[in-house]
Amino acid sequence: MPDLPELDPVVHGRLRLALLSLLSGVEEAEFTWLRARTQATDGNLGAQLLKLEQAGYVAVEKKFVLRKPQTLYRITENGRQALTNYIRALRKLLGSGVDE
């Protein structure tokens, strides 16, 4: 029986996985855009982004644009690597039946 890979618990959460996937396709994104795409509540989204930030998977930048606060998130190299490893592990777990 081959060793089955472990799934990274930080990446595995549905919302955190969605956030990392979204951020992997863009250079950076606003909190409001992430909220609109995931349709998550402010509190839940903020909490999950904080977990990703604490794990070093996303970086946060806060600034003011036209006097309005703007919070920008971008995926870090560690985050991208974690997502890649997660997808690899997922495909391994699902076996060869899943397309590359």
Partner: protein
């Protein structure tokens, strides 16, 4: 076991749909295409019946301001993507080129050859749509580019009235219809989304 597999497949589909969501850029610009289509109609009507050199520069300036206002008023902000920047650059460069060319030509009274004016405008719009379509690999937009290129040729050969009709039809197809198509595609994409929870 079957539940576990379903759960894992669900995770894969989240990844795929979210990556695709992040890459979606042009569809949300449908309203801008419609706005510019209407602006061209206004400018044509104004210059034809108003007989003023200011028709094009003023209409284009107002449309440019409205485009900026529209861009900033969209809810949810915009993600910064390499693809988005590439497509945005094409349209910004097109806007600047058209504005400078037609503003200068209009002011100096050199917009006397209507055939050439419509042909140049059609060719420029064909170039921008073509470049965008090739980057996005979007056949519908490539179709728009083909219509503009055909209009550029047709306006050179047709009579005054025929050239205007060709140009109006091209605007209708490539700005109004294509714009509404983009808006509908964008709305349908949003409807398919379901809320995600931790």
């Amino acid at each position: 076991m079957a539940d576990d597999t379903r759960e894992l497949r669900d995770r894969l589909s989240i990844i795929e749909s979210m990556i695709a969501e992040g890459q979606r850029t042009t569809e949300s610009w449908g309203s801008t295409f419609v706005l510019w289509g209407l602006a061209y109609y206004v400018a044509i009507a104004w210059s034809r019946w108003g007989h003023t050199v200011w028709a094009w520069p003023v209409t284009i300036s107002i449309a440019a301001v409205l485009t900026i206002v529209l861009a900033f008023s969209k809810p949810g902000g915009h993600p910064r993507t390499t693809l988005g920047r590439a497509i945005g650059s094409i349209w910004i460069a097109l806007g600047i080129s058209m504005f400078l060319l037609f503003f200068a030509a209009g002011l100096t009274g050199r917009l006397t050859d209507r055939h050439l004016f419509l042909a140049v405008m059609s060719a420029i719009l064909g170039m921008a749509n073509g470049a965008s379509a090739l980057i996005l690999r979007w056949k519908v937009q490539l179709g728009c580019a083909a219509v503009w290129w055909a209009a550029a040729i047709a306006t050179c050969f047709g009579s005054d009235a025929q050239s205007i009709i060709v140009f109006l039809v091209a605007i209708f197809l490539c700005q109004i219809v294509f714009g509404f198509y983009g808006m509908i595609a964008n709305t349908q994409g949003r409807k398919r989304q379901a809320p995600l929870h931790a």
